[in-house]
């Protein structure tokens, strides 16, 4: 009987998930059409796109840090590889002379996969051309992911023999090496040296990054819930016991590292498209710390937490707190709100979150429909219980004071 009840509630949850996803996509589509052209709410779309991209990268980092227990800080470096692998092969041949203006003949590479497929399938105006264009973008993104994964595989061989802090330092170092390497003049004909890469193929609709990130995150969640995910978690919980239960430590650490890097690379490619230009200099350890912050605030070991944390972080840094830099915030005007003040407030907000949610917003919990229904079902009772709780706290304080008084009197 219970089996049947479970089965039907599983079915219900699945249907609910599909409806929610479809509604989300429709919402993004409508917002994209209605809001994007008007400038006043443009921030919303920026946050939506960038938040989605950061969510993907944060979830991929959480796979390493939260589920495999590997404290790696190489994410920005891997994003950089993905971004460049995408951008370099997506600049239309006719634009190459302007982009690679400091290099003779427009650099070494003279083709663009999206543009090539677009021409092959009917040109810029035909429907087939548009399909070819997006097909090229997707293929290039997969290439970007694979290249990143390949480099991560090589880096992983020496680095994954280290543990905890040492691993963090080594990955951080490799990320910085990657950044310097891409800025190297000698590589200029390919990477444009330290100059900006621009005019590469990009998506038009906000639905594209949401869809891509959604598919990637869904894969990571399914991986975490599979037998391999359990093996990752066993390594996180106790390496010695995991090895004694037949889990090949190095193989599984490498696997987690490579898969995480693949999605960091895809995220980097999406970020390149979002920004419409790419340059190695912002991919510093600062960017890794931003992603780490998202993971920690969301909850180490919670995919839901990483997604929520990502949107909150991006919304705060790109939108909600922007007014603090401009001298006007929530209708309040003040002289001390000069550029940089946003960061002060942001730091206070983060400290607040960390103080009250020491294990992140979600801890290690995940979103579930049952949990959501339970939340709303018990909400009235909990609200009704709040005065009692406050009273109890108050009387406890009073009691403490009283005992103190008694003690002092003695």
């Amino acid at each position: 009987m219970t089996e049947r009840i479970n089965g039907s509630s599983n079915k219900r949850n699945m249907v609910l998930s599909f409806i929610a996803l479809a509604a989300l996509l429709v919402l993004v589509y409508v917002l994209d059409i209605v809001i994007k052209p008007t400038s006043s709410w443009n921030n919303l779309m920026t946050c939506l796109e960038k938040g989605t991209i950061y969510a993907l990268v944060a979830v991929s980092m959480n796979l390493l840090n939260g589920f495999t227990g590997l404290f790696s800080l190489g994410q920005a470096g891997f994003m950089l590889i993905g971004a460049y692998a995408y951008a370099v092969f997506a600049i239309a041949p006719e634009d190459r002379t302007t982009v690679y203006q400091y290099y003779e003949g427009g650099g070494l590479i003279h083709f663009s996969l999206p543009h090539m497929l677009q021409d092959m399938m009917g040109g810029a105006d035909a429907f087939g051309g548009a399909i070819g264009y997006y097909l090229g973008i997707i293929l290039l993104m997969i290439f970007a992911g694979l290249l990143t994964a390949g480099i991560a595989f090589l880096i992983g061989i020496p680095v994954l023999r280290l543990k905890s802090d040492y691993l963090a330092i080594a990955t951080l170092g490799f990320a910085e090496i990657i950044r310097s390497f891409f800025q190297w003049e000698g590589l200029g004909p390919v990477t444009n040296g330290s100059n900006v890469l621009r005019k590469f193929a990009s998506y038009d609709s906000s639905i594209f990054p949401v869809l891509v990130a959604g598919v990637c995150i869904a894969f990571i969640v399914m991986l975490i819930n599979s037998s391999y995910g359990r093996a990752f978690k066993s390594i996180r919980d106790d390496e010695i016991a995991a090895e004694a239960m037949g889990v090949n430590l190095f193989k599984h650490k490498e696997l987690s590292f490579v898969i995480s890097s693949f999605f960091a690379g895809v995220g980097g490619a999406l970020l390149a498209m979002f920004q419409n230009n790419i340059n190695a200099s912002p991919f510093t350890s600062n960017m890794t710390y931003e992603i780490l912050l998202i993971v920690v605030i969301g909850g180490i070991g919670s995919v839901t937490g990483s997604i929520i944390g990502s949107y909150l972080f991006i919304a705060c840094s790109e939108w909600w707190l922007r007014g603090l830099d401009k001298g006007e915030f929530l209708g309040i005007e003040a002289d001390f709100m000069t550029p940089g003040f946003r960061k002060v407030v942001f730091a206070v907000v983060i400290m607040g979150i960390v103080l009250f949610y020491s294990r992140g917003i979600m801890g290690t919990k995940e979103f579930s429909w049952d949990g959501l229904f339970n939340f709303f079902r018990t909400l009235p009772a909990r609200i009704a219980g709040i005065p009692g709780k406050i009273k109890a706290k108050f009387s406890a304080k009073k009691h403490k004071k009283n005992t103190k008084k008694v003690k002092e009197a003695q």
Binding site: R230, D238, M245, V247
Partner: protein, 279 residues
């Protein structure tokens, strides 16, 4: 009785720097036997377990499982000059399998200080031990192409949990279980690797006489049902004497006695090691 050899440990010496933790230990476990390994605290019992399961590479000596070498070593490098053990020239090869490979070959173990996977449920703890025998790759597993295999794994895991009376706790976090049940879960998890030889490191530690009595019967049942041999470290003499076919006694890293329970109980060297002797 069929005297088929499962585990053969030959002249194992484990030396850490200048400390000889296990000195020239040889022991054998035959098919279907329950063997006890006893000795005072610090005698080197757990170190011997760690050598057999590949956590440590022995300094000298050889470990074989079903006739194939799983660990062999001889004093090398710096250790050559420091080596204090015996049989220095007897072994020349160097084979050190990692613990996961040894587990795959058929040795499973439990730990003295319980090492369950803290953030995982009871069922997941058992499922992890079945991971190594899974045929599906990462993509097959993540995209659920192996649904039938996964279902079978869960079925087997539930059977194991039922045997230990843990089926009602399957979705609880492993660390939320009471102590005795955690010990049972460790044994269930070890059995999920489908071993030929089960190493139990103080399975009755912290249990009352009634619980350890139950454990004793359980170990006997496991031997029958899973057709395996057991090597166990234990301090509860009633458990050891009641269940073991043969007993090895270690003191200061060296073997001081070997025999059936009665012989061990009457052995003057064992009594001396445990109780001390008047001068």
């Amino acid at each position: 009785m069929n005297k088929e050899n499962v585990l053969r440990v030959s002249d194992i010496t484990m030396q850490f720097g200048g400390v000889v933790a296990v000195n020239n230990l040889s022991l054998e476990v035959n098919k279907g036997e329950i063997i006890g390994l006893i000795g005072p605290n610090g005698a080197g019992k757990t170190t011997a377990f760690n050598v057999i399961t590949g956590v440590y590479a022995p300094t000298n000596g050889m470990v074989e499982l079903n006739g194939s070498v799983i660990a062999e070593n001889h004093p090398q490098g710096k250790m050559k000059a420091q080596y204090k053990g015996e049989n220095a020239g007897k072994y020349t090869g160097k084979t050190v399998l990692t613990p996961d490979k040894i587990t795959k070959k058929g040795i499973a173990r439990t730990f003295q200080n319980i090492r369950l996977f803290k953030g995982m449920t009871v069922l997941e703890n058992v499922l992890v031990a079945m991971h190594m025998n899974m045929k599906a790759g990462v993509f097959g597993s993540a995209l659920r192409f192996n649904a039938a295999e996964e279902a079978k794994m869960r079925e087997e895991a539930m059977d194991l949990l039922r045997m230990f009376g843990l089926e009602g706790n399957k979705d609880d976090l492993a660390t939320s279980l009471p102590y005795g049940k955690q010990r049972h879960l460790e044994i269930a998890r070890a059995l999920a690797t489908k071993p030929q030889l089960l190493l139990l490191d103080e399975p009755a530690a912290g249990m009352n006489p009634q619980e350890s009595d139950e454990l004793m019967h359980l170990v006997g049942k496991i031997r029958e049902q899973f057709d395996l041999s057991v090597l166990m470290i234990e301090h509860h003499m009633q458990v050891i004497m009641g269940i073991c076919d043969r007993i090895y006694v270690l003191d200061y890293g060296a073997l001081i006695a070997e025999g059936n329970p009665e012989e061990i109980q009457n052995n003057p060297r064992v009594i001396e090691a445990y109780l001390g002797v008047d001068d």
